[in-house]
């Protein structure tokens, strides 16, 4: 009996990737009544099996050093044994390459439902109004096709839904949003705040995606400080718990996990028809057809997918008539410096865990004095300190300083809680030397051609990192502290590209289809039924960590998409 081929189902919307962008699209579209099929390259997340929230190191024979003490050899999970499942810079069978003649670049890949929102720092900052027209201000980079007023309502919606702590400050560089009450400052932060004010730098309640009152069935934060381990009560934002699970409950979301997208298919006339993916459980290739395709696989992964999809109608890759796909890759400028503050030695011990991460931060203060500063754009400062849960490596410094014996124990008691740290997070300006392309020879374990990276910091970023270093040294000096030796080096201590995990810009938006791939709604100029809703659409990478803007742009694109579908335009 001949097999009867069933007619292939055509899905309304297929989304690739379930992080901040893809999960927002799934949540908003299913809420608007649209059926969504979501492909995720990793497995479903099981918080109750995987999260190590509230576990003590002594509950494990290896104490957190991981089996065989992998941690001692620089191996193991990138953020430590207790951190939530997310991904890493090195994945088995999924290589990438870096061109010989450029700076190094590390590419973090998350392979799990919720993507990097599982592990991220949850810093939640709006872009400023001036961040959308940077070229008008200093002649560098490019302007966005949208302005603050276009995205502001979607910042409102995203903040109200995911929940963000903060306070109203009226600072132009850090626009106020829809906030939950912030927790009060920790003791060491009160001291740092005084030093900060002495330098004329604002130091304000942090803006993090943590809720301090119940929201949509999620209980308020219980102040264990362990956001990075995954939160069993979903009192912080992770896309899997806050968006994917509720979207699944609508019955309109179909989640296909372990699905590694290989190639986009088209009809030969400029419309996308679906995607071919590898079912990682079986290794089989499958095809899914859709009316609309949304890429949210992460900036570089989405660019890779477009560039790997060379069709009759898109000879240089889908949606790449402009040739900008893969180009203008940006990360965040990172520079860190810690120090020992003897003044904190006699601070009465208390539980400083708090809401996970710092309760204060320093937004950029020099936006109206760039000429005097000698570098364009800016950075904010994240601060660390307090009495963390002891773990592997916590007292290595005391051990080396004190030798052994009773002196070592005394040193550890004295030193505990006396360390502070500053991390600068600054804006990188897009440049021609920083991009990704398809490597002509290397493929991954499924035979999919991999990315080859080119990356170069310019003098702008180097000068900015130098300024960070000077500022941190001033802060530590005001605290009467001693800066750590390793980071005393000059701006050569600038982060390695990709190490801050803020890659954006590889499928940028713009008004001109010759110099951009997407319009202001994240819709491909060349293929109207294709959207890119991760950080790839960014035209610039302000010092505001990108997640909230990914949420807001995806929210805006989703409402537009649903509207266009309703009108019969998609």
């Amino acid at each position: 009996m001949p097999a009867i081929q069933p007619r292939e189902e055509i899905h309304d919307v297929v989304v690739i990737g379930s992080g901040a962008g893809g999960a927002t699209v799934a949540h908003v579209l299913t809420g608007l009544g649209v059926r969504v099929t979501l492909l995720e390259a990793g497995p479903m997340l099981d918080p109750y099996r995987e999260f190590k929230e509230h576990h003590w190191p002594y509950e494990y024979e290896h104490r957190g050093a991981e089996p065989g003490g992998r941690r001692y050899f620089g191996e193991g999970k990138p953020f430590g044994f207790f951190s939530t499942t997310s991904g890493g810079w090195e994945l088995d069978g999924e290589p990438y390459t870096v061109a010989d003649d450029t700076d190094d670049f590390w590419w973090f890949r998350s392979r799990i439902v919720g993507g990097r929102t599982n592990h991220y720092g949850r810093m939640t900052f709006r872009f400023s109004d001036y961040d959308f027209n940077p070229r008008d201000r200093d002649g560098l980079g490019w302007n966005w096709p949208i302005g603050y007023e276009d995205i502001a309502p979607y910042y409102d919606r995203a903040e109200a839904f995911i929940g963000v702590t903060g306070s109203r400050e009226g600072l132009r560089s850090a626009p106020d949003g829809v906030f939950h009450d912030p927790p009060p400052p920790k003791a060491h932060e009160l001291l740092i705040q005084r030093a900060s004010h002495k330098l004329g730098i604002p130091c304000i309640p942090n803006r993090r995606a943590v809720i301090t009152r119940a929201l949509n069935g999620r209980p308020a934060c219980h102040y264990c400080g362990q956001c990075g381990r995954g939160c069993l009560t979903a009192s912080n934002y992770s896309a899997s718990q806050v968006q994917i699970l509720p979207a699944l409950e609508t019955g309109r979301l179909t989640l296909v996990d372990q699905a590694m997208a290989r190639e986009i298919t088209t009809d030969g006339e400029g419309r996308v028809t679906g995607v071919v993916y590898v079912d990682k459980r079986t290794g089989e290739e499958r095809r899914v057809r859709s009316r609309v395709l949304v890429l949210a696989a992460s900036a570089c992964e989405s660019a890779r997918l477009l560039l790997n999809s060379k069709t009759r109608d898109f000879s240089s890759g889908v949606a790449n008539h402009s040739g900008v796909v893969g180009r203008y890759l940006m990360d965040t400028v990172g520079f860190g410096l810690g120090g020992y503050v003897p003044a904190l030695e006699r601070l009465p011990r208390y539980n400083s865990d708090g809401a996970g991460g710092a309760h204060l931060y320093m937004p950029w203060w020099g936006w109206d004095e760039q000429e005097r500063l000698g570098f364009p754009r800016g950075y904010h400062i994240e601060i660390g300190g307090g009495y963390g849960m002891p773990g592997i490596g916590s007292f290595g410094r005391s051990a080396r300083a004190a030798g052994y014996g009773a002196a070592l124990k005394e040193h550890a008691r004295r030193e505990y809680g006396t360390r502070v740290s500053f991390a600068g997070r600054g804006e990188m300006i897009p440049n021609d030397a920083s991009y990704c392309e398809i490597d002509p020879t290397v493929v991954d374990r499924w035979g999919i051609p991999v990315l080859r990276f080119h990356f170069r910091w310019s003098e702008h970023e180097i000068r900015q990192a130098r300024h960070m270093r000077e500022t941190f040294l001033e802060l530590i000096a005001l605290l009467g502290g001693e800066p750590d030796a390793p980071a005393r080096r000059d701006a050569s201590g600038i982060s390695i590209g990709g190490s801050i995990i803020h890659e954006v810009g590889t499928v940028r938006m713009g008004d001109d289809p010759d110099t951009s791939a997407l319009n202001g709604f994240c819709q491909a100029h060349d293929a109207p039924n294709l959207f890119v809703c991760d950080g790839a659409s960014f035209v610039s990478n302000p010092d505001k960590n990108p997640t909230l803007t990914i949420n807001a742009l995806a929210w805006r694109a989703s409402e537009y998409l649903a509207d266009e579908m309703g009108r019969g335009n998609l």
Partner: protein
């Protein structure tokens, strides 16, 4: 408000069940597993990798590196020898570091004092560790180089085992890993900061 660990688990389970339908069973299972783990007490330990003599030497080192004092127990009380033995049994690189290092230590002690490390009086043992620490600080180990490297491993892992144990965590005074209904920085800590800031001219 602070609560016991048991209360933490109870609250988490409660919170999780109220957060979304369908999780109740899973949450309950997890909490059950936590509590079961809490009751598990290690019995007598049979080394998996180290010989009895090697284990005794590591234990002596652990007592010297982190001795018992008024503020807490010793590296042995914290399970450092078991921790080191376990990881050696799982990792050939560590196994080699310890096996060769312990041979070096007994050999060096034999040349200095005519006995194994555990076989000589405590003053001889501390004299050896003092020599290793001095060599480490001088930045060149000379003929103690291998010993300096090995002692670095023993010290690092003993310190880790101690400060990740209940007694070590209590020793430094970590007070967190709790479920709180609100966060506050206690008044004495805030007042302390006010005084320190004044001293610093801030």
């Amino acid at each position: 408000m602070s609560l016991s660990r048991r209360d933490v688990l109870r609250q988490l389970a409660l919170a999780a069940t109220s957060a979304a339908g369908g999780f109740n069973l899973e949450a309950a299972k997890v909490v059950h597993a936590f509590v079961a783990g809490e009751h598990a007490q290690p019995g007598g330990y049979a080394p998996r990798f180290l010989t009895a003599h090697e284990f005794a030497t590591v234990a002596r080192l652990a007592e010297l590196v982190v001795p018992a004092d008024g503020g807490g127990g010793s590296g042995v009380d914290a399970g450092a020898p078991e921790f080191i033995d376990l990881l050696c049994s799982e990792n050939e690189r560590l196994a080699e570091i310890y096996r060769e290092g312990l041979v070096w230590l007994d050999g060096a002690m034999g040349r200095r004092a005519g006995g194994t490390f555990v076989g000589v009086p405590v003053e001889r043992q501390t004299a050896m560790l003092d020599a290793l620490v001095d060599a480490e600080r001088a930045g060149s180990g000379g003929d103690l180089e291998a010993g300096v490297r090995f002692f670095g491993w023993v010290r690092r892992m003993t310190v880790d085992a101690y400060y990740t144990s209940p007694i070590g965590i209590r020793d430094v005074g970590y007070q967190g890993n709790r479920v709180l209904s609100a966060y506050e920085t206690p008044r004495p800590a805030v007042e302390f900061i006010d005084r320190v800031a004044a001293d610093l001219g801030l």
